[in-house]
Symmetry: C2
Subunit: 195 residues, 2 copies
């Protein structure tokens, strides 16, 4: 196996990249400027050394605590609970939320041996108690596991006096009724709002 | 911009990878084993140092001349002319051809200033004269530029006494007449064969 085959195999290990795409990328890299290659190689070598989970919220960061946790202009009374570190970037890019985050690190999945203690749910309870949080917005995915986890967090926090909300689930904007699945449609009925 | 954003930007520069896919890959890399990261980084750093064009046929190789040019079991009387180095790997994976290759390095494109001399067409003529080649199979893409280049090579080699052929163009196997475009259909009529 030569260097070209080796790098193609490495690329095809990445999510969303098949054998053909990997070969196309390797061939592109052979023609690209050497400076980019040098920098790209360094970025990969250093990624895991430079990026770590924030000790407060659990999102990926270069400096601990992360810039969001340190930002004094953000609303420190609202915390948005997400499944994965990358969900923080997704929500940030919408510019819709200006509070703090809390990354669970997954969802409750008993069959895979993932219970509340394998996630950062105990740490969330601590934060709610000690940081003066008034609202917890649960933004786990609208899947069976995400809903279960949301319900569990709601149960465990319901006596703490904070307001607990869940992101709305329903028809995506720009979507078409015709192509909506039954469950999404059912949920959009249940969650209907008055004008 | 932190290390995560930097690497995401690098990935989104690669062909076929958009912003979302790049972010997904970066997040995957944060969780992957450090050994893979180390090896992957090295592969990128060394790729352009280890892989170069073969001085005989022009395909990518670690050792010059390439394994195909050096392989004494291959039929040295037939040469298959392709546009790009990666086309060699595609044809090799079909196990259909057992001769030698010749990589043009592109197609004739006067508007972009690419004429026969910018491609390795003069070198092909030399090889045909000196290497005892009996058949030249032109495997440029069935596009306007690929066809033009094929025709040019046919013209320039027609007095050299070698047989010059072109890969068949027509309906792809497993395809459907209904979905074939007009040009492909026209070409499959012109290239029809008797049973």
């Amino acid at each position: 196996m030569n260097a070209l085959d080796e790098i193609t195999e490495s690329f095809s290990r990445l999510p969303g990249i098949g054998k053909k795409s990997a070969a196309r990328i390797s061939n592109y890299l052979l023609r690209t400027d050497a400076l980019f290659m040098e920098r790209f190689s360094q970025q990969i070598a250093n990624l895991q050394k430079r990026i770590r989970p924030c000790s407060v919220c659990g999102s990926w960061t270069e400096n601990d605590p992360c810039p969001i946790c340190c930002d004094s202009t953000r609303d420190r009374s609202v915390v948005c609970v997400v499944e994965q570190p990358q969900d923080v970037a997704t929500i940030e890019s919408s510019h819709e939320f200006h509070g703090l985050f809390h990354v669970l690190g997954g969802v409750i999945a008993p069959l895979e041996g993932i219970g509340p203690d394998q996630l950062s749910i105990p740490r969330l309870c601590e934060r709610v108690k000690s940081e003066g949080i008034k609202e917890v917005i649960i933004a786990t995915n609208p899947t069976v596991e995400g809903d279960t986890t949301a319900l569990y967090i709601q149960q465990i926090l319901k006596d703490s006096g904070v307001s607990i909300t869940r992101l709305a689930s329903g028809l995506p904007v720009g979507g078409d009724l015709e192509y909506a699945d039954k469950l999404t449609l059912a949920r959009s009925f249940r969650g209907r709002s008055s004008f």
